[in-house]
């Protein structure tokens, strides 16, 4: 059974929007995804039907909102294969999830001389918190290198990952290269030397089946807004043994058990890590996004995106004289992200040009400056990233627009 893309597209109101009079071709999904009406409706239903603060109310609205909020937690926890809803902390986004882990676990478990191993393809959100922690604690950052082709170079892993390593923090899928990393294997090796593994799953959870028990990871973070859900919400999975020993992150209402003027004790899991009134509507909206994705099936989603990526790489190959394309050639090791660059048009200019045709791509460093500058050797790339509602026609439109842009620039320009 394959996905019915036309049917899916009808669920996304924004896709019938015109941009400068042209149908929107949205190829910026790695930055944020669009939302189906089911998710938007879930927010409206909440605000129009049962909006109330959670956990403390004896009245009907509060009981309903609490029940739906916790139901959303169960859904999201189930979606990533967590053993229990208690393992799932609601956070604002992937970035906050990683900061929570760095603050509540990292600060207590990483000390002078310890090593934190990351990859050279990390998003700033999975790099800067660890740099900061390493600096504060006198620990050392180490890096798994990236090959020319845009995959991890694991040849030195046995040296990089050693008894001083306390944590491996790595992305499941690169938001620049599309590379899907062998996080399960590396996690097993990390555990063998007594280290923990944190997975930045911002780009994987939206696009493929992810099961934390199968991956056997210690932490896994993701964002709702990249997986059809609302902004301002996301999840951090933490393994139970680790979670139980972690110090609170933010403090205040909701996360306490008892408070006196002198001291406070902490609430049960996972509320201990959720201070203040949560993003209730956001969580419920994320639950609706999970329902939507599950109704399609994540295997189907992944397969469909691989097909589209194959088609895109094949189609864009015709432009390989004009553009460099980045990322693994093995389709089994990459997701639906294509980064590219031309010596003749800066990505920023390219982005503006494509935008005139209603085609939304991203241009820049994609919050992975060190990778872009030091490994790809450029200041920016252009990036097209796909999701379930994108079509082969849209890939064709992209190619045609790229050609037009090249023509425009060479027409206008005297040769170098």
């Amino acid at each position: 059974m394959t996905l019915d893309v036309e049917k899916i597209r009808r669920d996304f109101p924004i896709l019938s929007k015109l941009v400068y009079g042209k149908p929107l071709v949205y190829l910026d999904n790695a930055a944020t995804s669009q939302k189906p009406r089911q998710v938007i409706q879930a927010l409206v239903d909440y605000y129009e039907g049962y909006n109330a603060n959670v956990h403390r109310g004896v009245h009907a609205l509060s009981m309903e909102s609490t029940e739906r909020y916790e139901e959303a937690r169960r859904k999201v926890a189930g979606f990533i294969g967590a053993p229990s809803p208690e393992n799932l902390i609601f956070v604002r986004n992937t970035t906050e999830g990683i900061n929570l882990a760095a603050s509540s676990w990292g600060a207590a478990n990483i000390g002078p001389g310890d090593e934190i191993l990351v990859t050279e393809m990390e998003h700033h959100s999975n790099l800067v918190p660890w740099q900061r922690l390493a600096k504060a604690k006198g620990a050392r950052m180490r890096f798994i290198p990236v090959t020319e082709e845009g995959t991890l170079d694991l040849s030195d892993l046995d040296t990089l990952l050693n008894h001083r390593t306390k944590l491996v923090a790595m992305t499941h899928m690169s938001n620049v290269l599309g590379a899907i990393n062998p996080v399960k294997d590396i996690g097993a090796k990390a555990h063998a030397v007594g280290a923990r593994i944190l997975i930045d799953a911002a780009q994987s959870v939206p696009h493929m089946p992810v099961n934390v028990q199968d991956l056997d990871c210690d932490f896994l973070a993701f964002s709702s807004h990249k997986m059809l859900g609302p902004t301002g919400i996301g999840g951090l999975y933490v393994r139970s043994e680790t979670l139980e020993k972690m110090e609170p992150f933010l403090t205040g209402g909701e996360m306490v058990l008892e408070v006196t003027y002198d001291y406070a004790t902490w609430n049960d899991l996972p509320m201990r890590f959720e201070a203040g009134t949560p993003n209730i509507a956001g969580s419920i909206g994320l639950g609706a996004a999970v329902d939507y994705l599950e109704s399609l099936g994540m295997e189907q989603v992944h397969r469909r995106e691989r097909e589209l990526t194959a088609y895109a790489l094949d189609t864009l190959k015709e432009l390989s004289e004009e553009f460099n394309f980045y990322g693994p050639t093995d389709l089994n090791a990459r997701g639906a992200i294509v980064s590219f660059n031309s010596p003749d048009i800066h990505p920023h200019d390219l982005g503006t040009m494509l935008d005139q045709g209603g085609i939304a791509i991203r241009a820049g460093h994609h919050c992975a400056m060190p990778l872009i500058r030091d490994r790809l050797g450029v200041a920016a790339t252009a990036r097209a990233s796909f999701y379930i509602y994108n079509t082969k026609d849209e890939v064709d439109l992209l190619k045609a627009a790229l050609k037009d842009a090249l023509r425009y620039f060479s027409k206008t320009l005297a040769p170098k």
């Binding site: 200019d349 045709g357 439109l397 037009d404 842009a405 320009l413 005297a414």
Partner: protein, 153 residues
Amino acid sequence: MRDTSFDQLDDLYQEVILDHYRNPRNRGEIPSPHVSARGFNPYCGDEVILALNLDDGRRVDAVAFSGQGCSISQASASILTELVKGKSLAETRRLSQLLRSLIHGDELTDEELDLMGEMEALRGVRRFPIRVKCALLAWATLDDGIEEYEGGQ
């Protein structure tokens, strides 16, 4: 399949801009310059590094830029280097103000437009809000450099 039409773009990518982008003027460095500054736009990675030497009357004597980025940021820097040569620091600040006014859509006098010279070609960025920062980067960098230089005097 529809055509991608770039008509709207001719305003942005005027000949002058693309010429400066492809054939940048005064690209390079100056050893131990009087005024130097680096500007960086975190959202797109555009970078402009400026270096100026002043003569005895504190007018711009030599000027060079380096860096990398889109056509707008680099062309704007190239145009800047041509415009500020021979100007006093107060005059360069005036130019920086004029560019902001231009982009803001203010009415400018003939005398002001005269002063701006090729910089007027940046008028088109007005309709591309995200590119305004590109156009201003070199000038904001210059302002910073001068402020620092004057602070140090």
